[in-house]
Amino acid sequence: MDSVVEDNQLGMMKYGIGQPVTRSEDPKLLRGEGNYTDDVNLDGQAYGVMVRSPYAHGTLNGIDTAEASTAPGVIAILTGADLDAAGLGTMKCGLPLKGRDGSPINYVPRPALATDKVRYVGDPVAIVIAETATQARDAAELVELDIDPLPAVTDARAAAEAGAPQLYDSVSGNTAIDFQYGDTAKVDTAFKEASHQTRLNIRNNRIVVSAMEPRSAVGSFDAASEGYTLNVGCQGVFGMMNTLAKQVFNIEPEKMHVVTGNVGGSFGMKAGAYPEYICVLHAAKVLGRPVKWTDDRSGSFLSDCHGRDHDMTAELALDADGKFTALRITGYGNVGAFLTAVSPMMPTMNTLKNANSVYRLPLIEVASKAVFTNTTPVTAYRGAGRPEANYYMERLIETAAREMGIDAIELRRRNQILPSEIPYAAANGMNYDSGDFPTIMQKAVEASDWDGFAARKAESEKRGKLRGRGVGCYLEVTAPVQEEMGGIRFEENGDVTIITGTLDYGQGHWTPFAQVLHQKLGVPFERIRLIQGDSAELIAGGGTGGSKSIMASGAAILEASDIVIDKGKKIAAHVFETAVEDIVFEGGAFQVAGTDRTVTVTELAEQLRGGLDLPEDLPRDLSVKHIFDAAPSAFPNGCHVCELEVDPDTGVVEIDRYNMVNDFGTVVNPLLVEGQAHGGIVQGLGQALMENAVYDSEGQLQTGSYMDYAVPRASDVPSFTFATHAVPATTNPLGAKGCGEAGCAGSLPSIMNALVDALAPLGVKHIDMPATPEKVWAAIQSAKAA
């Protein structure tokens, strides 16, 4: 274990680990000087616009481009047949996930443009390329699609039923995977023997991701080197390069240069390859000039992958003392019309991994199907199964407590894993390495002024309002770290560049990564740069996703720094004419032990640039390209307490108080971590109270704009009270646990539990998300009627 965190300077250096340093990129972004993909304009570039299916399901008989191709400014129109003829491959889902009978995922790899059938409204069938974007848009409207509409199915449960419209001949029952984990017989017995069973049917509503920056891509091709370049917003250029090169273009990865500048949000949605990227790259080659495509917001609603959309039955078995004896989650996940690289995971493995949460649970079973429907593909969305699973568990606990007449906090306390039981081998196969769950809940309860609730409730009642309070404990299993690059380059101008293959899409990686390097090597914080978005610079890169970036890149930077120190010691020994063993590294400087002869890393780098006369066997510079191997998942956890008021006459819900205590392990930058928690909570609030992607029976997206799809605003939330109770992870060198998705995992259950708590006196037992005013009002009316 590295000592960087326990360093006694911890918290004392202005830019060290633990300091709330503001984001280095913000001055530039706030001045509008960011470099997003749509800001990229290349010489001679043409513009592409996609032609999309207006039908949710249909046979594609033909595409008539005659009129469109003579429209002003049109350069070319490419269809699926053109991509086929060029020998382009398909986008695949390589997950090793197995079904209950051991079979692999059943699906048909996706071509960039549909050829035989269209499978959702928005399914791209052609790209029109013209001199200007407006000309391309006008011409795209002239492309005639000959489609025979087929019956559509948009709901996962319905799609899995016999007789449902089938999306693929080779995928029976529209089922990509029929997943099962757990000992069914034992779980059945546990439920039979339980003294109490709680059962909830829960919809996890479909979300339109709403990244602030729409997707955009610029493709170019250099005939001399036969190399492609793609400028695109994504979550990791190394992965994007490999996917496009190996799966689609059948070329060496080096020939697929992927470059990402600033990214205005992704939440999982921009992680994978999309048809548009393949189209602009291929078009650039065919036309011999760069081609740019930028979505508009209406396009984003249809073409960006959606999130969530699960339909589950969650059941909890308890003994007479309220001890949990088994958890069972069964149901359906809607994956839309095509699989992404990760989409079957959310309703299956990720639900399993995260449902266990902070509780002692002898038995768990998850049996769920990932099902194709005639809807926009669904992919990972902030939490990717983590918020969903924690939501099921916490709603079950709250409901069980009410049914059994046990205080909900007390019920949690009886079942929470104690610090003395850690390391804890959970029934879902996870091994918890650290955590103090009861203390965290206790602190959150205290922070929320638990005892003052009754008075606040009485005061609300005087104003005709119903007050409720809800708890959301959560534990997330972060994505394990695969290979990650830790590159440190000492530049000619004195800057020190970190090169790593995670990718900042709004989180603010530059600052915390620089804090880690600054603390470890003592190089000036202001001179540290960060490169992530250039595949030509990377020798490895796992991208960002699953709340792992600080663990991956943080560890990679620490290990790379150790190599810098080793190199530096050798050089310093030569400079000081002493043995390597006599050199110590402390406070950013190499020192001849026991003397006052020191040289800092920065000084040594400068001397090397000036030209040191070094023997053959010594390194010429301090720069390092290192690959950090792997680290297992971490288990960020915490407890959120939400208090809200319901206006019974209108059903309007107003969040009044919100407290949380979290364990993110070692926190490199508390300012950014708190910001991540805030954003996650508000995103969760959106799903809980407002957001819902609705399809009609023909598969048309009815919520196709912000007129019909509500996202939360600043005025919808109170100030949050944030506290940390950190128990550093033992499984990665920093001790960090990852915080990017935790806000959602805590807020869905705390908000929905609080809402049901407010309405429980009227007889309301459960409300599905989103709890819109009308839905809340209707629930009150039907409870009154009952």
């Binding site: 006459d649 209108t650 059903g651 407002m690 019909d708 799809y709 989103p770 005013p773 009308e774 009002w777």
Partner: protein, 289 residues
């Protein structure tokens, strides 16, 4: 794309002349917060734009000889907000207009545009209807005055004849202890814009309501004047029974368009709820003033 002509005449006669001459190919431009959005979306494609903001009468705020107010149709919410006395006399009209959009939008958006755009959910219109405002309209055949509630005839439709321009709104003089209020309910949710807007204008004599006008937005194809609700309030002390009666009248007046998700029952109920809340605010203001 065809060319668009733009004119910004300084007299009303020129504006009417240009507008009428274009025979339906022209559009009036006030703040443009509806028009420009609709043009960008390709919903309207005018050959001529007649900008009316240079016409003095359309941008003026004046006191009438009778002691009321006359507001030019193109006056923006931000300008009206700055008027020294208007907001004291008609706080409800002002709050309706300045609920529109955001600060930027309010710098441009006019009540005239809000009315002529013909949305049933137009936020400034219930306040004007409750105020008993009269719209002055001028066209090739001269000037006429009509109550504001008679201007909209359906979503996106008005009773303005071809070539007619809305000139101004005239609000009557105000007896002592009168005031008004506007509340809207926008549960920001899928499938809904404004669910209900409610404006109430009252005159009080002590605790007794001596005059009332009630208007609802977003619950029918046009903004409604709800006379039965007003009747239920007049000559009462705004006690619970009277308020219930007025609320019931509001619910009864509702004729919402969309019942896909049960919104009819909800909108209908909320209209009554808002009536009570708006009346309470207006009464409070009237007693204070």
């Amino acid at each position: 794309m065809t060319d668009i002509q733009y004119v910004a005449p300084s007299t009303l006669d020129e504006a009417v002349g240009a507008y009428a001459a274009a025979k339906g190919a022209a559009r009036i431009l006030a703040g443009g917060t509806d028009l420009l959005v609709q043009m960008r979306a390709g919903m309207v494609k005018p050959g001529l734009i007649v900008d009316i903001k240079k016409v003095a009468e359309l941008s003026a705020i004046e006191k009438t000889p009778e002691g009321g107010f006359r507001i030019g149709a193109a006056v923006s919410g931000a300008v009206l907000e700055e008027h020294p006395t208007f907001g004291k006399v008609w706080p409800g009209v002002l709050e309706g207009l300045n609920l529109i959009g955001s600060t930027q939008v309010q710098g441009r958006a006019s009540a005239g545009g809000n009315l002529c755009n013909g949305s049933p959910a137009a936020d400034s219109i219930p306040g004007l209807v409750a105020a008993g405002a009269i719209a002055t309209v001028q066209g090739p055949n001269g000037r006429r005055n009509i109550p504001v509630e008679q201007v909209p005839t359906g979503p996106g439709k008005t009773s303005l004849a071809p070539g007619e321009i809305l000139v101004s709104f005239t609000l009557p003089p105000r007896p002592a202890h009168s005031s008004d209020a506007y509340l809207r309910m926008i549960p920001r949710t899928e499938m809904d814009i404004a669910v209900v807007g409610c404006a109430v204008s009252l005159t009080m004599d002590g605790d007794t309501c001596t005059a009332a006008r009630v208007s609802l937005g977003a619950v029918a194809p046009t903004v409604l004047l709800v006379e039965d609700a007003a009747k239920a309030l007049v000559l009462t002390k705004l006690d619970d029974a009277s308020l219930d009666k007025a609320a019931a009248a509001c619910s009864a007046a509702c004729n919402p368009i969309d019942d896909k998700r049960g919104t009819i029952a909800y909108r209908t109920k909320v209209a009554g709820v808002l009536l009570k809340r708006t009346t309470a605010i207006a009464a409070e203001r009237a007693k204070g003033g």
